[in-house]
């Protein structure tokens, strides 16, 4: 090429001598030839600016660096191949043809191929989609729904011929053997995969609308086994992301690619690194649940038994104290009763009666004694008097020789002779015996 350049420069030198006056289009044409032949197809690196996607379908922008700019155009035929969005500020490498656009007096590059610098086109497209969707809020944490704890129905969107479905079914069976699984089949790679995935997700949602609320699918797993980036690409597609976002059924993404996250993973309500892990996340192990339930039930019984026990203790204690107090009260009462009873007993009429009887007896005794004494006294008095009497007794007198004359028959005691005449019968009572005599004579004075 340098010879050609040299050649032209020589020509230019020659031209300056006989003054050739170019027409604008003429010189433009020459410039065009020189440039197009000198550079032909080149690779140019620069930063995109002034990007405009024309309604005609062509792209117009400039490539620039610190000190210069290069206008660029990319026509519809070529720019349809571009996977990413060309944006101002993007550092790119373009492959194209340097040309001159006469009507504008502008040199430019007609870009055939464009790639972002330092990153794959596909990769960049992915980054751009991520940014776009994130801005729309598709990845926002607030939108992510919580997973049902124990779903009775689980949906699965995956290929029937893939490895994922086997793993999922096996693990679900192991963890919780009796659960209802509904598979909505879809191709997970290749042509048409993204449409099938979208449809499968929509179908599960449509199904739910036909079911009564207690029979609805509560969560779905959307996924596939491992593979290359290209294999997984369906899960980076915008339509799939939107289908997941719009799904009324919560979605667990399980794109079998341990480290990296696809867009589906970012939109999903929960992300599992593999389908097997998804199966573990979606449902707890029946064993664990049984265990948990058993622990709770035991705690329930134990803590209730503790409460009942403590109430029992309190009750027992109260009853105990009640009984003690009652006993105490009883004893006090009994004491009082005894005291009163004693008092009462002392006031018992019987006692009184006995007391009086004693008194009576004692008095009676006294009376008896006194009486006896008295009688004895009287007796002796009497005896004394009797003696006296006796001594005064006519009979006593009689014993002294005196006699009593009785005029008979009247038996009248004769004290005076006047009453006696001679011949009267006189009974003379002697101390011992009687004399019956007749009066012979009477004498006065004796």
């Amino acid at each position: 090429m340098s010879e050609i350049i040299a050649d032209f420069f020589k020509q230019a030198e020659n031209l300056s001598k006989p003054k050739h006056i170019y027409a604008v289009s003429e010189i433009t044409q020459d410039i065009k030839l020189i440039l197009e032949n000198t550079f032909g197809e080149v690779w140019v690196e620069g930063e995109v600016s002034n990007f405009k996607a024309h309604t005609s379908g062509h792209f117009y922008f400039t490539l620039k660096d610190d000190t210069a700019i290069l206008p660029a155009a990319m026509f519809g035929r070529a720019n349809r191949e571009v996977k990413f969005k060309i944006e101002n500020g993007l550092k790119v490498i373009c492959f194209g043809k340097i040309s001159v656009y006469g009507p504008r007096g502008q040199y430019q590059i007609i870009v055939e191929k464009i790639e972002p610098k330092g990153i794959g086109g596909l990769q960049l497209a992915l980054e751009q989609l991520k940014k776009k969707l994130e801005k729309e809020g598709l990845f926002s944490a607030e939108h992510k729904r919580p997973m049902p704890y124990l779903p009775s129905r689980i949906g699965v969107v995956t290929s029937l011929s893939g490895a994922a479905i086997k793993d999922i079914l096996k693990i679900l069976d192991r963890r919780f053997s009796d659960i209802h699984i509904i598979i909505s089949p879809a191709q997970v790679q290749g042509e048409g995969a993204k449409e099938e995935i979208v449809q499968a997700i929509k179908d599960l949602n449509s199904l739910n609308e036909q079911l009564p609320s207690d029979q609805r699918i509560e969560v779905m797993i959307v996924g596939r086994g491992g593979g290359s980036i290209e294999d997984l690409w369906a899960f980076n597609e915008e339509v799939v992301a939107r289908a997941i976002y719009n799904s009324r059924i919560p979605v667990i993404s399980a794109v079998g690619h341990e480290r990296d996250w696809t867009i589906a993973d970012l939109v999903a309500d929960l992300r599992a690194p593999t389908p097997s892990v998804a199966a573990e996340l979606v449902i707890p192990k029946k064993e664990d649940l049984r265990e948990k339930l058993s622990v709770l039930t035991t705690s329930l019984k134990r803590s209730f038994s503790d409460i009942a026990g403590s109430f029992q203790e309190t009750t027992d204690d109260l009853v105990h104290r009640l009984i003690l107090n009652m006993k105490h009260i009883l004893e006090l009462s009994r004491g009082q009763l005894n005291a009163v009873a004693k008092k009462l007993a002392l006031l018992n009429p019987i006692v009184l009666i006995h007391k009086y009887r004693e008194k009576i007896d004692s008095l009676a005794k006294q009376i008896y004694v006194r009486l006896d004494h008295y009688l004895k006294l009287r007796q002796s008095e009497f005896n004394g008097l009797i003696e006296k009497l006796s001594s005064l007794s006519p009979l006593n007198i009689l014993s002294r020789g005196y006699s009593i004359a009785f005029k008979m028959p009247e038996a009248k005691i004769v004290k005076d002779v006047k009453f006696i005449k001679v011949g009267d019968t006189i009974k003379t009572k002697l101390y011992k015996g009687q004399i019956v005599s007749q009066v012979k004579g009477v004498e006065e004075n004796g």
Binding site: L160, F176, L293, S303
Partner: protein, 81 residues
């Protein structure tokens, strides 16, 4: 007591156990909660034993309507081997 979802029933049961363990209840309240707890436990236990295994495939029939078809697990084994 109306049938609760498993998770809710389990949570309620946990709450009841907490309440009983705090020991601040009257005997009547404790008894009531205990009975409720036992009933919840029974419900949960039943739920763990009750479900029947079922796998279906969702397909569109000739009319374009959605239909559930019983899934033959052997089919996958065939397809993947």
């Amino acid at each position: 007591m109306a049938e609760l979802k498993f998770e809710e029933a389990l949570k309620k049961l946990e709450k009841i156990v907490e309440d009983l363990e705090s020991g601040d209840l009257s005997l009547d309240e404790a008894l009531k909660k205990y009975q409720e707890g036992i009933e919840l436990s029974r419900q949960c236990c039943q739920r763990l034993e009750n479900a029947k295994k079922k796998i279906d495939t969702l397909v569109k029939n000739k009319k374009g309507e959605l239909e559930l078809r019983s899934f033959d697990e052997d089919k996958i084994n065939e397809a993947t081997t």
